[in-house]
Symmetry: C2
Subunit: 361 residues, 2 copies
Amino acid sequence: MIDYKLHIPGPVNVSSGAYQALKTPVMGHRSPDFVDLYNKCQPLLQKLFQTEDPVFLCTSSAWGAMEGAVRNLTKKKTLCCTCGAFSDKWIDVVQRCDKEVDALSVEWGKHIDPNALDEKLSSGEYDLVTLVHNETSCGMMNPLEDIMKVLAKYPDVLSVVDTVSSFSVVPIQKDLLGIDVLLTGSQKALALPPGLALLSVSERAFERAKTIKGRGYYFDFLEFLKNHEKGMTPSTPVIPLIHGLLYTLESIFEEGVENRFQRHEQLNNQVHQWIDSKGFELLPEKKFASKSLSCVKNNLEMDVAGFVKALREEKKLAIDGGYGKIKGKTFRISNMGNEDNQSIEFLLNQMDDIIHRFLPS
Amino acid sequence: MIDYKLHIPGPVNVSSGAYQALKTPVMGHRSPDFVDLYNKCQPLLQKLFQTEDPVFLCTSSAWGAMEGAVRNLTKKKTLCCTCGAFSDKWIDVVQRCDKEVDALSVEWGKHIDPNALDEKLSSGEYDLVTLVHNETSCGMMNPLEDIMKVLAKYPDVLSVVDTVSSFSVVPIQKDLLGIDVLLTGSQKALALPPGLALLSVSERAFERAKTIKGRGYYFDFLEFLKNHEKGMTPSTPVIPLIHGLLYTLESIFEEGVENRFQRHEQLNNQVHQWIDSKGFELLPEKKFASKSLSCVKNNLEMDVAGFVKALREEKKLAIDGGYGKIKGKTFRISNMGNEDNQSIEFLLNQMDDIIHRFLPS
């Protein structure tokens, strides 16, 4: 059993209330008691997704649902907007599904330029665009509204937007922005343990899926829809996490969604102030910095690995030492989930206590 | 929250110890602490699977892993051995993956005849056979050893065996029988909540996978293998259920695997005696009756729905009123998981208390 608290950008620290909810006794997934649980979650999910489309509960990591979107929605070619480790990976996933793909790439930490997207789409080659809203590897949040304005010009191009680390941190107006598939996972901003993906699918995405062969069963959007209409999932779902989800949704609406957005912004600013005060810089431009986590550029040439290790072992707090090719060149601090001023202040103070040992003298 | 105990054939009743394990704090899935958890489970899983092949932890229902097997292993044609609702469904799943498929079908409740399988395979048309070892919908257990003897004659035909409701109830010697993919789920005989599939994959299945396009990412066997070698999973896994799995594996070896097999046989006999004493019959031939559950033929024309409802509402015990097209014509009682003589006796006594009200006078 671990003896430290998670401030890594997912999985994040889970509240004792959410853990307690996991223990709610399991029922048969074809029983009226399950339908009741499903139907309690659904309106809260739709409110949070800002959508009238169904929100599906998918027992997988978010990558499962992301692969599902590819299998369900593209027959021409997919354009992956890539700006970090997770958006990059999507190219690989599309190829592994034996589908055509191109990338619209920017350097890690930079944002996707809506004009560049417009130019790409004007070729008429694509029928699907994938976008990671908040690139967790770089702490960069793409300008979703402007990107969706471009997509609105191309009604034959569907959009899949991964909001794994931004969902419930900032408002995302699915229907208003015209997002076809909005998906997220349980273990980041929702602060549940991993194992459940949530996705909301538009009517025109269902229409597209009907025309596509080889969608499979497990991630088939039409199978999800058919079962949704009965208050069920296609396959046996991860019921403990759905109990946890209901608990979490009720907590979110108890806090108030707007309050939740404000709290995240405030905590994010608190971390940014600490970063400034130390003389560190953010990896992305401030304007595109994530509100969920801070990806700090190691411009001071700190011993990141040593700092992260000491913080975990001595202070019992886990932050992240950078992802993939920017490991050591960056470090990341999450403010997702149930953090508050006190808990973030505590983290920053503990970091202050030891950081001098890892900075060049 | 439900107020009754599950004796349906999955999900089954979860012990308080297993529920407690779900609350173990989540760690980062790329951290040494996760690797430690993974590596603690692995040797116990291999022992239980009776294999030297890796056993993968897949965050999905068993259907996810079953679809994965299809996507990874067939390019010619799949032969699905069908003998009930779940084995029937596999035909549909293969078709939805846009792959060729035939069925070797028997009536629900009958077993797959090894000779008929031999005849089918001798055509040389097939490169994959799917088999549901214990058809949960009919309470019928196929003669696995004899079936695998037939498959041994066809080295180019790979086998996928679903043991969702027989794994850890009866011994299944994966390596000795030459099963290529042995898979199970968490919520039946292992008595964990649903959300985790377990599968062990043979060397020649990996070799086959290497030659097949469109395997995707989420269920790609080679991706599982690559991550397994680091003590990890390809995607963020359902960590609470892995904590629960470790707890369950330790409990199983504490009881002793042989004792566990014997206990299940004994409890199954106890239910069979009750069935005989009432004048009911089993749906399958006694020789092929499942050791995990009893599928009872409604030869006495009982009001099954009424009986099941009263048992749940008055006695707080849930059994199953029959699956799919044999709903009402059968009912099912599970003896999977952590049941013992007392708990099964209690169930049977409670059933005795009310059954007369639902039998024709």
